[in-house]
């Protein structure tokens, strides 16, 4: 019996072997530390634009992408750092992008809201709420035409589910049985708009029925639970049965962006959700089942912190773009 099959564990957790869990936990730490460093960099004036932090949502980003294969695609959002790291991107190239450097993933042209790692299977964050949803349909059409067995996972928020793009995309993906997994990260708010004020059904997943596809409504702060459902949806997509809609209920600890004064939610609510920290929850469960001891867990976190610190240093030292290249890459030649 190998470690991850120890008794009394939930099957969702037991399904993940130690190496997988360690990788997942590492990525969750990397996300958390990345966001914290991003925030600190902003305070220190290293970053010019705004940013949307995903602290508190790490289990959703990592859990959904965990069952993906290397050649699969993701499409991300304005709150996309987590997805990017979860998909395996290099934090140093992300920071370089964030600092607007020529070495960044997008050569400093895209910034926080547009980080893409096309080679790594991340077809890009998106500054337009819901903007990635119709694109996912086309990626699904490509996969189907090319019969390459891939899957496209597209992220969006609860707020995005009120965009017309959501409706059109889910409908098309469904009628054509495209290999797409729609992942709604429901963090309760679209900016200041409470989901209860923004839509008249309790769950975004309830809308799946309107497109004849499965809708899964999950505790988005439960890494193992998210991964288990994602695996089902990914398998369904890959086998040609069509798309699914997964809703991860989660919470962003920080404000929507730097301009947010949190006028629309209470301190208590924030505290309540902080107590459900997805990272601590996973660590506690692993300890409870004797899969990792405190020292091993500590080391994962420290390694992640070191990686992020190094990434920031790397990025700071990188060169800025040369203004004479202003119009480069507007067109492909």
């Amino acid at each position: 019996m190998s470690a991850h099959q120890k008794p009394n564990q939930r099957p969702e957790l037991a399904a993940l072997d130690d190496a997988t869990v360690a990788q997942a936990l590492t990525r969750m730490h990397l996300i958390r530390k990345f966001e914290e460093a991003a925030e600190a960099s902003y305070m220190r004036g290293l970053i010019h634009g705004t940013m949307h932090l995903s602290i508190g949502q790490e289990a959703s980003a990592v859990g959904t992408t965990l069952p993906l294969e290397a050649h699969d695609y993701i499409l991300s959002t304005h709150r996309g750092h987590g997805h990017c790291i979860a998909r395996g991107a290099e934090p140093k190239l992300m920071f370089a992008e964030f600092f607007g450097k020529e070495t960044g993933y997008c050569k400093g042209r895209g910034g926080s809201m547009h980080i893409a790692d096309v080679e790594g299977g991340n077809l890009g964050a998106n500054g337009i709420v819901g903007g990635g949803l119709p694109i996912a349909v086309g990626v699904g059409m490509s996969i189907k035409a090319q019969k390459n067995g891939r899957v496209c996972m597209v992220f969006f928020g609860d707020g995005a589910s009120n965009e017309g793009a959501f409706h059109e995309a889910l409908n098309m993906a469904s009628i054509w049985k495209l290999p797409v997994v729609f992942v709604c990260e429901n963090n309760k708010y679209g900016m200041s708009m409470d989901i209860g004020r923004a839509m008249a059904v309790p769950n975004v997943a309830d809308r799946a029925a309107a497109y004849g596809m499965p809708g899964h409504c999950l505790d988005g702060n439960d890494l193992a639970g998210v991964a288990a459902v994602a695996a089902v949806a990914i398998a369904r997509a890959r086998s040609g049965e069509g798309p699914s809609l997964i809703e991860c209920k989660t919470y962003r600890w920080r404000g929507h962006s730097k301009s947010d004064r949190n006028l629309y939610r209470s301190k208590e609510e924030i505290e309540e959700w902080r107590s459900q920290d997805p990272i601590r929850r996973l660590e506690d469960e692993l300890k409870a089942h004797d899969r990792f001891d405190a020292a091993a867990l500590m080391k994962l976190e420290e390694d992640a912190q070191r990686d992020i610190d190094a990434a920031v240093e790397f990025a700071r030292a990188c060169p800025d773009p040369d203004p004479k290249d202003l119009t480069r890459d507007v067109y492909a030649l």
């Binding site: 634009g49 500054g127 337009i128 707020g159 119009t327």
Partner: protein, 336 residues
């Protein structure tokens, strides 16, 4: 602009817009404000501020993220007796609302043989300079200047931001107001009472004899600053703040060019097919053509999406130095 002699107050551009909204809502119960996060959040740029507390959630309405839907809702409210003011959170998102603005709002009156009117106002924060990159920094106003049935404004001062918004709310037609994000914090004199600045009238910000510089939105401010520097180089620039790009105040521009014989147009939108093209073409096809002593120069945004990196971002749109250089070249041209 004639201004009634009242208390001299300074407000920021954002405060001026808010004051106009408050006064319009106080004066006319048909007026309401809606858009994404205009309520308790106070607007993404803080423009609506405390209005929701003053007027309640029935008149300051947070909407779902549904730009096409909310634009259509403005149309529906307008044709049935209301005076909606819609905020599109960043003007870039108007790309999702084009159908309702262009096919419906702009055309309903005409298509219905004049039997309906569409008195709605859309406020659109636009422009670059905040590091928000290509999808949050566009200047798309030129598109709307191409659409009969719409009016399109670009106030550049707190004074005009208030007065033109009040005029737009009075107007029985759909009016789009592009507010530049970098202007929100700029300050200026704003009378306290509810005054109107007429739609379709440019403002001469500075008189001059050597060259006419027409600027729109924030570029009018930059042109003023440039003119100051040009003056110390011995060049007398007349600065016209366009203010309205549909309709365009051709008469004011033409009269100025008749005097200066030289025209420079400065705007932030992409140079190609930007508003400067229309102004240039209007002059080049008019009798004023014969008064021109030099080519008509346009300084517009580079033909590039707005880059994230701040150095590139600045390089992508005209700066004060560019205006000074272009005006100087234009004036010295004959002398070379």
């Amino acid at each position: 602009m004639l201004e009634p002699a009242t208390e001299i107050r300074e407000l920021s551009y954002a405060e001026a817009v808010r004051e106009a909204l408050g006064q319009a809502m106080e004066a006319d119960e048909r007026v309401f404000l809606f858009g994404e996060d205009v309520g308790v959040y106070g607007g993404a740029f803080g423009v609506s501020g405390d209005l929701v507390h003053r007027f309640g959630t029935d008149r300051v309405i947070d909407t779902p993220i549904s730009e096409l839907g909310i634009a259509g809702a403005a149309v529906g409210a307008a044709i049935t007796g209301m005076r909606p003011v819609l905020e599109i959170q960043f003007s870039d998102f108007v790309t999702l609302a084009m159908e309702q603005l262009v096919n419906q709002a702009a055309k309903i009156r005409f298509m219905f043989g004049g039997k309906a009117s569409v008195p709605m106002v859309v406020r659109l924060p636009g422009g670059s300079g905040t590091g928000a990159a290509a999808q949050h920094s566009q200047s798309l106003e030129a598109w709307f200047a191409h659409v009969p049935g719409l009016k399109v404004l670009q106030p550049s001062t707190p004074h005009d931001a208030k007065g033109m918004l009040l005029a737009a709310i009075d107007d029985p037609n759909p009016v789009l107001i592009f507010e530049h994000k970098l202007l929100y914090k700029t300050k200026g004199h704003v009378p306290a009472e509810a005054y109107r600045v007429p739609i379709g009238k440019a403002a001469i910000r500075r008189e001059g004899t050597d060259v006419t510089i027409v600027g729109s939105s924030i570029m009018a401010r930059k042109a003023e600053a440039a003119a100051e520097r040009l003056a110390s180089d011995g060049i007398s620039a007349e600065v016209i703040d366009l203010r309205s790009i549909r309709p365009i105040d051709f008469a004011t521009i033409a009269e100025s060019v008749r005097k200066t014989h030289r025209l420079l147009v400065v705007y932030e939108g992409v140079k190609t097919m930007g508003i400067g093209a229309e102004i240039s073409a209007m002059i080049a096809e008019s009798e004023v053509f014969d008064f021109l002593d030099a080519p008509i120069i346009r300084l517009g945004g580079a033909d590039v999406p707005i880059p994230y990196n701040p150095v590139l971002e600045k390089a992508a749109v005209p700066q004060e130095d560019d205006i000074v250089a272009a005006a100087t070249n234009l004036v010295r041209r004959g002398e070379a």
